[in-house]
Subunit: 358 residues, 2 copies
Amino acid sequence: MTAPPPSQHPPRFLALADGSFGPMSSKTANACLRYTPGRVAAVLDAAQAGRTAERVLGFGGPVPVVATLDEGIALGATAVLVGIAPPGGRLPDAWRALVARAASLGLDVWSGLHTYLADDPLIAEAARAGGATIVDLRRPPADLVVAAGRVREVDATVVLTVGSDCNIGKMTAQLQLRDALVARGRRAAFAATGQTGILVEGRGIAVDAVVADFIAGAAERLTIEASEGADIVLVEGQGSIIHPSYSGVTYGLLHGSLPHAMVLCHQPSRRAIVNQSWVPLPPLPELVAMHEAAARPLRPAPVIAVALNTVDLDDEAARRAVAEAEDATGLPTTDPVRFDPGTVVDAIERFDAARRGA
Amino acid sequence: MTAPPPSQHPPRFLALADGSFGPMSSKTANACLRYTPGRVAAVLDAAQAGRTAERVLGFGGPVPVVATLDEGIALGATAVLVGIAPPGGRLPDAWRALVARAASLGLDVWSGLHTYLADDPLIAEAARAGGATIVDLRRPPADLVVAAGRVREVDATVVLTVGSDCNIGKMTAQLQLRDALVARGRRAAFAATGQTGILVEGRGIAVDAVVADFIAGAAERLTIEASEGADIVLVEGQGSIIHPSYSGVTYGLLHGSLPHAMVLCHQPSRRAIVNQSWVPLPPLPELVAMHEAAARPLRPAPVIAVALNTVDLDDEAARRAVAEAEDATGLPTTDPVRFDPGTVVDAIERFDAARRGA
């Protein structure tokens, strides 16, 4: 989807995260809680019912965690949000009945899964009966074309987040950097490339959901669209160029968006790709060199900063990790969620000014 | 599709190549003429009607080029083959009526386009009326899963062709190498990854047509399937890791098939990506290094040979190009179509023996 979702009123979500609500899981629910908390009525996770989002995540305020759909409705939910992104993106069988029941009661269904819920006969029929709308965030536009380097005509400075692994902070870093740049008065836009980013931003294309030949074409289009009225476009990265399942998406996104510069995202505690322990993570300087080499044949782009995700470290360890990454790479480094993102924002502004010859 | 196409009798094709029949275009028709010439009744190209395939291509024997559908039917065609692979893979509007008419007359429709012809109401209705079957070679299996390195359990030696650009000989090289290995008594299998390879081989998955998250998963699956009963699996490469439109497919195929070794394909006369002149082709040694670097984080794989496409050179220039590539890379080099592929076949056998510690 590139147009805003079709709902007339901002939805109030019951975010489904049953059995998985936590800081490093339930990615879609978490982003919604961080960036649009007013849209979340409650989170559904029976195992943590009675707590608040703040207590589970460290952010999200007093949004309650509940055990049942009915409690969510009682709290004002007008839609259910399928807030997980499992491998392959398919809906767990156990959730189908719950979502169908919600739809039959008139709650809209927002989903970021690969399996489009509007194509699920059970859920579609329930939505029809209940007068509910189904918003499949990942469904790509029907009129994609293959990439042809059109993005080179964009005047804005394009910055892409890249990472050592999936689910490591590439979207969150860009949202934090965007907010900081806007606070400095810069015309900075966020280009969403995944279901969660699209949910937060209201537009974008899920590049992992397009037909493979169109990855770069989708990246080109969403970068061009985000550049309208912006001087800096912050493209949400996906996956990792060393991820055995998703590297094609990552690489196509890099060559389609043709960034002028990259920000490398990493979680210091990770030693290997999650769930693929046979792929160890290279040291940061090697990751920097690999990304610059991958970009070079099309448009050279330096890695200009490092954004760490230190969610599982205490403050002292987090500060040490930042210092170590800075030491190893020679690049400005921060955790843009935990600490002031200023040092990385400075790097982007310096790069932008140098590029424009200012 | 991974099962053989559903037709009961081998089809006799009228290969549609109107306005494009030639050595470096009409890729699907050409591969069919080279590897399964008995299946081609005629080629449709009004501009070259009256000639033979041999005269236009330099191979394909006496298969006639005709100007109309009716001539093709008179020559015994039982199916039309959409024998072009345009950017994005969509059916030219002008061809829809022709294909629909063929279907309404009972000719089966075989297509390698991204636009599935079975989903085209006009053509689907014509096929229903005419009792014709529509075979969409590119339609992926519905049950793909994301890659997880399962291909590492394959005992066979996996060799992937990679290339400096699209449409440069990656499929043809593998088919020539497969035939030569089989002639030496080796159990070698061809793993098809594109519509033309699937047409020739009768099985495979078009990795450029799957949802982007499943590129590597599709590559993993087709490599595992091809390895059954084979000691050497020759995986058909796609695109190029420097191609601005398709690099994601290429890179995902590399990380999904996890080759033990690679053969680099190149056309010496090309200086830049076709239709993307802003991307110059790096020198061969640099291409070798780039591919080895891309493979390394998951499974190190050397480039062990170079396969040139010298179709547009005379014999002397072709021999010189082979010698120059050999000199530049230090690797066994040939044009496996024009010359004896033995030197590259030797390289594969040596690599296989060394890998197995023989």
